[in-house]
Every structure is written in structure tokens, then in C-alpha cells.
């Protein structure tokens, strides 16, 4: 009942499942690590206790999200070999060193200082502790740098020669690392992570404002998050547009699928807003479109010709319907984020940021949309790269490991079951932490001085009365 095709499909499903689950956590922890660094920095600078309380509040959430990111990430570093061994053999000489650099420059940095960041405040003092927080935040960024370089190389490969063994042999590392799509993907992804975090922080702030407008911590986090969204959302839309233009240059078939352009348009292509793409018939049913707008956006000229999928051999098409929809989900949510940012600015001008409960409800509903947009964006770019793993050069069907379908099916089921148990529990714990209102004397993760290490504790640690406001800016 299983044949070769289904082994391949199962392996793809497994990768899609594990990488999607994994990326939820870094998408959050990249932004949250920076936010924590900002909070602790503000505390050290101003000595205001509210920042320390917020720092401890989000630190507990960070600890959970980071742990889940780590364990789901270890899976990824082995999955290339277990399920995609032919890809690993051929592309390993290029991809492998990039990932090895990620481990050496980022993972160790994060992991090495995470312990100090989580548990070490009482042991090393605020200054050194802040260095640890910064190290973790910088580590998350370096990690994004290398892994996105590797991913981008698969999208826009260059700087290699093929050797006798059929491997991609690196010839120019600079060209490999800084391949054409990398700068765009890096900016777009990191901004996406910042937005995702800001939306979550904003929603948590909004939730507590709805219950108590006077909560100092909720006010500060809502204020900071809305500011971030107001700034980052428009920049992100601009960066996304630049990324799209870069994709048009290097991976035109992906853009054709995003746009739903089955046919070429010699004198100005329409922008299809909605419709139902039909790959078999090579058409978009019930399309609602703006004439010539796509050419205007992509070529900055309403009459510029745009090629369609009819210029691409059928066997090189990505799944048009998936790419078409995921792209629209991402863009639609991006527009909502822009709206939220704009409304929050308007509320600021009226001095009603903490008063308009409908704004807080809007921010609350928007809380999870960053994750959805990030995943939809990744689906767009990854499914859009198909049917290749290394774009144009190595087919996905020729990348998989020689495994029996039952082996892949069994492991896929195991992954689904384990991820469901572990990550739904973890998400539940995060939500539980978020449901507590931030308050003065917020407990951290460390054992308190008068308690010998978490004795039969109900909570991991009672409040830490050590570093009070004002101590931070001494000396």
C-alpha cells in the first residue's frame, strides 16, 4: 500500500511538520530575547522597578519557549540525514559548514549564557547578568543569520562547482553566504520575529488592561508593543515588497504562483486579489483583480510584460494553490498589523492608548497573528521553491533517503503524537503565565536567598528581594 512516492510524500510531510513546529519558537524567542535585553537595559539605566518586574515576567515565558525551541531544533539537525540523506551528501559541503557556523557562533553562545540569564542574577550581579542577556539576544540573531544564509542558498544557489562525486563543491564562500536572496530574507524574517513578539506582548498587555487599566506593567508593555508595531509593520511591508522583487528576479515561477499568473501578460498583468486557482485547468476561477496592477507593483510600469507559468515546464511548477493562498494570508495579516499600528498611533495622539477598550480587544485578537503570518510566509517561500531542494539544480524527489515508507510513516506518527503532547502542554503553561497580571515583586526563576532551592515549591521561586530598583544605576 506504500510505494516510493508515498515515502517521499511522508518524508516531506515530516519535514514540513517538524520545521513548522520548530520555527514557531525561534520566531518568538528572537524577538523576545531582544525585548528582554531592552527591558533589563531600561531597568539598569532608570532603576524603575516596573522594568525589572516585566523582565522577570517575560523571562519565565522565554525559558519555556526557548526550551521548546532547543529540543525541536535538535531534531532538525538530524533530520537532514535521516530523511534527506541524498541531499545531505550532495549539498552537505555547502549547507553543512553554514550550519556548523551556526552551532559554533550562536547555539553555544545562547546555551552558554542562558543558564546565567535564567538563574544567575544573584550569583553574578546585575552588570554581568546583563552581559549574559545581551549574549543570548545576540546569539539568537547570529543563529538567524547562518540558518537563513543556508536556506537562501537553497533558493538562490551560487558560488559552487559540481565535483566528480556529484556534490556541490564550494568555490567562493563569500558568494555562498551572501547569495542574492539572503539579505532580503534575513531582514524580512527578523522583522517578522520582532513583529510576532510585539503582537504577543501587545496582546498580553491588552488582556491585562481590559481587566485593570491601572496596571503599571500592562501599560508599559502595551505601550512598547504598540510602538514597535507602528514602526515595524510599515517597514516590514516595504521589506517584503523588496524581497518579492528579488524573488521575481531569481525565482520567477514562485512569484507566478503567488500571483496566480498561469498565463503570460505581454501588456500589463492584473493583480489578482482573490480567486480560486485551478492548476489542472491552468486558470484562476472567480478572480477579483485590478487590471495592470501587478505589473505596476512588480515592474513599476502598468504596461510592462509579465511572463506566466505557461513559460515554465509543467514539471517545474510549484503547487500553485498552496503558494497562492499562503501568500494572501501573510499579506492580509500584514495589512491588519499595519492597521493596528496606525490605530495605536491615533490613540496616542488622543491620549487614549490605555483607555480605548476596543483597541485593546483588537490587539488581543491580533496576538497570535504573527505566528500565522510567519508560517504562511515560510510556506510561500518553501513550497514556492518546489519541486527543487536546491533551486533549479536538485529535485526534491532526488534528495530523499532510501527509506521504506512504513519507517517514515511510523516516525511521522511518533513526531505528531509527541509534539502534540509536549508542545500543547508547553503552550498551555505559557498561556497560564501570561494570564497572571504583572505585578510588583514579580518572582523570577532563581531560588530566593532564604529558601534552600525550590523546596517542595509550589512556584519555582518566591519573589527575589535582592536587586531593588535603584541598585542598578549605582556605580
Amino acid at each position: 500500500m506504500f510505494d516510493d512516492i508515498s515515502a517521499l510524500t511522508l518524508a516531506r510531510a515530516q519535514f514540513a511538520f517538524t520545521v513548522s513546529f520548530h520555527f514557531i519558537f525561534p520566531a518568538f524567542s528572537i524577538g523576545l530575547a531582544s525585548y528582554l535585553a531592552v527591558l533589563e537595559g531600561l531597568w539598569l539605566k532608570t532603576g524603575k522597578e516596573v522594568y525589572l518586574n516585566l523582565f522577570k515576567y517575560w523571562l519565565k515565558i522565554f525559558a519555556l519557549a526557548f526550551a521548546m525551541g532547543v529540543v525541536s531544533g535538535i531534531t532538525m539537525s538530524y533530520q537532514f540525514g535521516t530523511n534527506w540523506s541524498v541531499f545531505s551528501d550532495k549539498a552537505g559541503p555547502v549547507i553543512g559548514p553554514l550550519m556548523a557556523y551556526e552551532v559554533m557562533t550562536a547555539f553555544f553562545l545562547e546555551a552558554g549564557f542562558l543558564g546565567v540569564m535564567l538563574f544567575g542574577m544573584n550569583r553574578v550581579g546585575p552588570k554581568l547578568h546583563y552581559m549574559a542577556t545581551l549574549a543570548v539576544a545576540i546569539g539568537t540573531f547570529i543563529s538567524a543569520f547562518w540558518i537563513l544564509s543556508a536556506n537562501s542558498w537553497m533558493q538562490t544557489p551560487q558560488g559552487f562547482v559540481m565535483n566528480a562525486a556529484g556534490q556541490f563543491e564550494p568555490a567562493d564562500w563569500w558568494a555562498i553566504v551572501f547569495n542574492p536572496s539572503f539579505p532580503y530574507r534575513l531582514v524580512h524574517t527578523v522583522l517578522g520575529a520582532y513583529l510576532t513578539t510585539a503582537l504577543v506582548v501587545g496582546a498580553v498587555g491588552a488582556w491585562h488592561l481590559l481587566k485593570d487599566k491601572g496596571n503599571a506593567g500592562a501599560r508599559v508593555m502595551f505601550n512598547m508593543a504598540m510602538g514597535m508595531i507602528a514602526v515595524a509593520a510599515p517597514i516590514q511591508i516595504f521589506a517584503g515588497d523588496m524581497h518579492g522583487l528579488n524573488t521575481l528576479e531569481h525565482q520567477p515561477a514562485k512569484v507566478m504562483a503567488m500571483e496566480g499568473h498561469f498565463q503570460s501578460h505581454p501588456d500589463g498583468a492584473p493583480l489578482i486579489l482573490f480567486g480560486i486557482p485551478d492548476e489542472k485547468a491552468a486558470t484562476v476561477h472567480a478572480a477579483v483583480s485590478i487590471p495592470k496592477a501587478s505589473s505596476l507593483i512588480l515592474k513599476h510600469d502598468p504596461n510592462a510584460p509579465l511572463a506566466g507559468l505557461d513559460t515554465v515546464p509543467r514539471e517545474d511548477w510549484p503547487h500553485v494553490d498552496i503558494v497562492f493562498w499562503s501568500f494572501r494570508i501573510m499579506v492580509g495579516l500584514g495589512m491588519l498589523m499595519l492597521t493596528l499600528g496606525a490605530v495605536s498611533l491615533f490613540a496616542r495622539t488622543r491620549r487614549k492608548l490605555y483607555d480605548w477598550s476596543w483597541l485593546h480587544r483588537f490587539a488581543l485578537v491580533m496576538g497570535p497573528t504573527g505566528f500565522v503570518a510567519v508560517l504562511a510566509g515560510w510556506v510561500t517561500t518553501e513550497v514556492g521553491r518546489q519541486p527543487f531542494t536546491v533551486y533549479g539544480l536538485l529535485r526534491t524527489s532526488q534528495s530523499a533517503a532510501p527509506l521504506d515508507a512504513p519507517a517514515v510513516a511510523a516516525s511521522l506518527l511518533a513526531f505528531v503524537a509527541v509534539y502534540f503532547i509536549v508542545f500543547s502542554a508547553g503552550t498551555g503553561y505559557i498561556l497560564k503565565l501570561m494570564s497572571h497580571a504583572p505585578h510588583p515583586g514579580e518572582p523570577g526563576l532563581e531560588p530566593a536567598p532564604d529558601h534552600p532551592v525550590r523546596t517542595a515549591g509550589i512556584t519555582p521561586a518566591p519573589g527575589i528581594p535582592v536587586h531593588r530598583a535603584g541598585q542598578g544605576d549605582a556605580s
Binding site: 559548514p97 556548523a100 557556523y101 552551532v103 563543491e169 532551592v453
Partner: protein, 333 residues
């Protein structure tokens, strides 16, 4: 070529794997021993003794895997599909035990569940790593540039033996680590466990060592050919000396030596493994030179590794130093 890059990288990867065993061994061991601790302070302090460092410890496993893909992509491509089931089992087990560190504090109502997850995850991860090692040693069938066997080939009495050995060995590392990090009743409990686990580990090292040379012709040659046998014979001799010193230090009530000597036993076993396998990375099929990535890959990474690995070791050392001393004391200074 003045610098034999594949040779250098074989050492770097071996170093990463050994660093992993040294650092994650004891924290997996604590998971394995967890059911023998009393719920409450004893379990909490055992957990606390590794909570700040487990994440860094597991990063060496990522370096081992990622480094293998980067430096020896052919070996990575052959070995991982061959060891599919144990590797997937290890990954899933590490997920359970990794999140248990955080989850058990967050959810006192389900703490017994996460404690079981911590133990089961640790046991399965250790066992799967041992099975992986045994399956690699007993040989993998290769055709062209691919694994050519079935998905149950790894399962043999030998691989089960190495699986059990690693569980016992890691438990020894965990017990001796806690002798170093705890006091009072927990410490004496761990001393007693260390003695039993030490005996078990030495016995299992002996059995695995006795079987290994007969798995593959080359292994026998590597160990017993004259005159290199004069050198290789030092390894079992040192194991014997190490074992004697270990039991002596335990009896004399030393706190650090049992852990260091247990690590020495692991180190010697690792050297023995190297003697068996070298110069093969997939025993009997692919040498390190055949599997190596092009020099341009190896050189690019070596530039970074030679600077970064010492730095990593330095700040890892710093992190351990910050959390030095007995757990449970920090409240009293």
C-alpha cells in the same frame, strides 16, 4: 597538501562527540537515576544541579551531528538512514526530557508525569545512543553512496548490549556528579549507587571490549597486530588502573575524584573505540578520506572552529564556574 584536513576534522568531530558524552552523560545519568530520589527536595536539588547547563551540554550533540554533515557528508548520509529508528527515538526522548526541566516547575499537579517523562526520556536517549554506537561498530551495508540495508538491521544482541552499557555508564556519571554536588543523605545514597554502577560499568566495558575485535577483521588487526599491540594494550591496562583508583577514591570518601575517574573510564573507552574504527568512519565501508567534504568546505570551517571552539570552552567553563559548589547552598551566603 601539508595539512590533512579530513584527519584534523575526524579529531574535531571526535572531540565534539566526547565533549557531548562528558557533559550530557552526567545529566542524562541524573535522569536515569531520578526514580531512586525521594520526591521533594532530593529530586529538586538533583534537577537544579544540571538545570543551568543542560542546554549547553546538548549543543555538543548538535555540533556532532551538524559537524558530521559538514565535514563528512557521505558518512552522515549513510549512517543516519541506517540508524533511523534509534536516532528518531533519541530525538523524541530528548524532547521529553528537555522540556521536563521547565515543565515540572510550571505544573505541580502534573509533576509526577513530567518526572516520569524526564526519566523515560533520559533512559531512552542513553539507550538509543548506545544502540547507535553498537550498530555503527558492527557494520552498515553500503551500496554506492547510499545505505543499502533494511530499517531493522541495527537491532542485534551486540547493539542492545552497547545500549545497556551506555545507560549504566551514564548513570554512573550522574551518580558521581551528585556525589560532588550534594551533601548529606543524598550524597551517601549516591556513593552507594556509584559503587554498584561502577562495578557494572567496568564489567560492561570488559564484555564490549572482548566482543568488539571479533566483529570485523580490521578491528582485530587494529588491536592485536605486532608491534602496535604494545601500544594498544595500554588501554585495557589503564582501564584496570582507573577502575582500581575509582573504587579507592569512593571508599576514601573523596568528592571529586569518583566523577573524574568515571570520566577517565569513558575517555579510555572512547580511545578504544577510535583504535577499533580508525581510519573508517563507516566501519568496513567508508574511510574518513572517502567521506570527507571538499577541502574548501573543511578549510572554511577550520578557520572558524580553531578560534571558536576554545572560546566556547572558555565560556562554558565560566558558566559551570558560576554555578559551582553544592546545590542548595546558594541561599546561605
Amino acid at each position: 597538501m601539508s595539512l590533512d584536513l579530513p584527519f584534523v576534522w575526524a579529531f574535531v568531530i571526535a572531540f565534539a562527540v566526547f565533549a557531548y558524552v562528558v557533559m550530557d552523560g552526567f545529566d542524562l545519568g541524573i535522569g536515569i537515576l531520578f526514580p531512586t530520589f525521594k520526591p521533594g527536595p532530593e529530586r529538586d536539588s538533583a534537577m537544579n544541579s544540571v538545570a543551568p547547563v543542560w542546554d549547553g551540554n546538548e549543543t555538543w550533540l548538535v555540533l556532532g551531528g551538524g559537524g558530521l554533515m559538514a565535514a563528512f557528508p557521505l558518512a552522515y548520509a549513510i549512517v543516519l538512514p541506517a540508524l533511523y529508528a534509534p536516532i528518531i527515538a533519541m530525538l523524541l526522548a530528548l524532547i521529553f526530557r528537555g522540556v521536563a526541566f521547565e515543565f515540572r516547575w510550571r505544573d505541580p499537579g502534573h509533576r509526577p508525569f513530567w518526572d516520569v517523562a524526564f526519566t523515560a526520556g533520559s533512559v531512552v536517549a542513553a539507550f538509543a545512543q548506545g544502540v547507535t554506537l553498537g550498530a555503527l561498530l558492527q557494520g552498515i551495508s553500503v551500496e554506492g553512496r547510499q545505505y543499502a540495508g533494511g530499517w531493522w538491521d541495527w537491532l542485534t544482541p551486540f547493539s542492545l548490549l552497547t545500549g545497556v552499557s551506555l545507560v549504566v555508564g551514564y548513570a554512573l556519571l550522574g551518580a558521581t556528579w551528585l556525589v560532588m554536588k550534594t551533601e548529606g543523605e543524598t550524597q551517601s545514597h549516591m556513593r552507594r549507587m556509584s559503587a554498584w554502577l561502577g562495578a557494572g560499568t567496568v564489567l560492561l566495558i570488559a564484555v564490549v571490549s572482548a566482543v568488539t575485535p571479533f566483529l570485523e577483521g580490521a578491528y582485530y588487526e587494529n588491536w592485536f597486530a605486532w608491534p602496535s599491540v604494545l601500544l594498544t594494550a595500554q588501554v585495557p591496562l589503564l582501564v584496570l588502573i582507573g577502575a582500581v583508583l575509582f573504587f579507592r577514591s569512593l571508599r576514601k570518601g573523596h568528592e571529586r575524584w569518583p566523577f573524574l575517574l568515571a570520566l577517565a573510564l569513558f575517555g579510555l573507552s572512547f580511545v578504544g573505540l577510535g583504535i577499533s574504527m580508525f581510519p573508517y568512519v563507516v566501519p568496513g565501508a567508508v574511510t574518513i578520506w572517502q567521506a570527507a567534504a571538499p577541502d574548501s568546505s573543511l578549510l572554511f570551517m577550520l578557520v572558524g572552529a580553531s578560534v571558536l571552539i576554545p572560546i566556547i570552552l572558555a565560556y562554558t567553563g565560566y558558566s559551570y564556574w558560576v554555578f559551582r559548589g553544592k546545590v542548595g547552598q546558594e541561599g546561605y551566603h
